[in-house]
Structure formats: structure tokens, C-alpha cells
Amino acid sequence: MPVFRPEDEIRIRELLDALERPVELLVAHGPEETPLPGAGDLDFGAETQRIVEALAALSANVTYRVEEEPDGFERYPAVAVLPEGEDVGIRYYGLPWGYELSSLVGAVVEAGKRESSLAPESLEALAALDRDLALDVFVTPT
């Protein structure tokens, strides 16, 4: 089964072609939690890698690599989005399918921008931050 519907593929290709700098995706494999009943025999790690491969195939601006239990990951499978190969702390934990595929594509698009999409007021407020913040956003694919 193809990863993207044809109309989505065209749109994603356009978005990725507009990237201003290269983005690398790091697929992290490791011990996975037991999935919920109903998940069947789905191999979350393999599916995650398949989606990332398909994304990278759409644009020369996007590359990927795969590692086993790399440093800096709390659970698996995971994808790190690395602008110009640099780890700035962006992660997607789990299989980015369904509605959540757009979160991963969105992360790549944002990482590919040289200028922040945030408003100047927001950037000013963030620049004054004097402590570390870990933002976890729980999402579902439907």
C-alpha cells in the first residue's frame, strides 16, 4: 500500500521543494511498548521507517538515516527532525500515521526555514528564557 495518496504526495512534494535548507530525519529503533489491543501485528518501527523513507524520496532536500537506540531518545520508535543535520530537540514518538503524518511533514517544513515562523513578540519572549523547557504534546492519529 502506498504511503501517500496521490493528491497528498503532490502537495507534500511542493512543500518539501520549498525548503530553504536541508533537513535530515533520524529514525530511532529500540525496544517498543506492547501496543494496545486492536493494533494487530503492525510493526510500528518498520512502518515509521517506511513513512520516513517515502518522505525523503519526495525531495532532494530531505534525507534520512536509521539508528538503533541512539542517545537522546526516550522511547521507540521515534523520529528526530534535524535542520542541516543539527539536533535541536525535535522528536516524534510513535508511528506518524493518519492525521499525525501532517505533524511530521509540518516539522520538516518548519525545520527547513531559515527564519522562524513565530511572531517577533514570541521570539522576544523566548529569547528571555533562562531555564530549560521540555514540551511534550500528546496526539492521536485520528
Binding site: 527532525v81 508511528l95 518548519e110 511572531a119 528564557l129 523547557l133 511534550d136
Partner: protein, 66 residues
């Protein structure tokens, strides 16, 4: 989700993770995830639902998280 990613890109002090709740039920349970998106800051559940950028930035920077 994108707001969290944008903040991580804008500040070296911020990291942002999306966590697929159904795939990590134990963690989702610990963070009392009942609705999505649920926003957790420094491992403390904060609020549910999408908010506009100024509100998002204000909330994550609130002194309560110090």
C-alpha cells in the same frame, strides 16, 4: 504541535516532542491524557486543546513552570 516545534527551533533551551498517545498508553496514563492535544511541560500536565500562538508562548513561559 507545530507551535511547540517552532518554539524548539527558536530557542536552544526548548525541546519539543509529539507523543502518539495510543502507542504509549502507560505514559499517556501517567500524564492523564483524556483529550488531545494534551500539553505537558517539564513532565507536568498543563492543558488540553489548541491555543493561539501568544497564549501558547505565555503559558509555557509562565512562572509556574520555574
Amino acid at each position: 504541535m507545530l507551535l511547540a516545534y517552532r518554539c524548539a527551533l527558536a530557542s536552544p533551551r526548548i525541546r519539543a516532542a509529539a507523543i502518539e498517545a495510543t502507542e504509549f498508553p502507560q505514559l499517556a496514563d501517567e500524564m492523564e491524557v483524556r483529550a488531545v492535544p494534551r500539553i505537558v511541560v517539564n513532565r507536568v500536565p498543563q492543558w488540553d486543546g489548541a491555543v493561539r500562538e501568544p497564549v501558547f508562548v505565555e503559558r509555557i513561559l509562565a512562572p509556574a513552570f520555574e
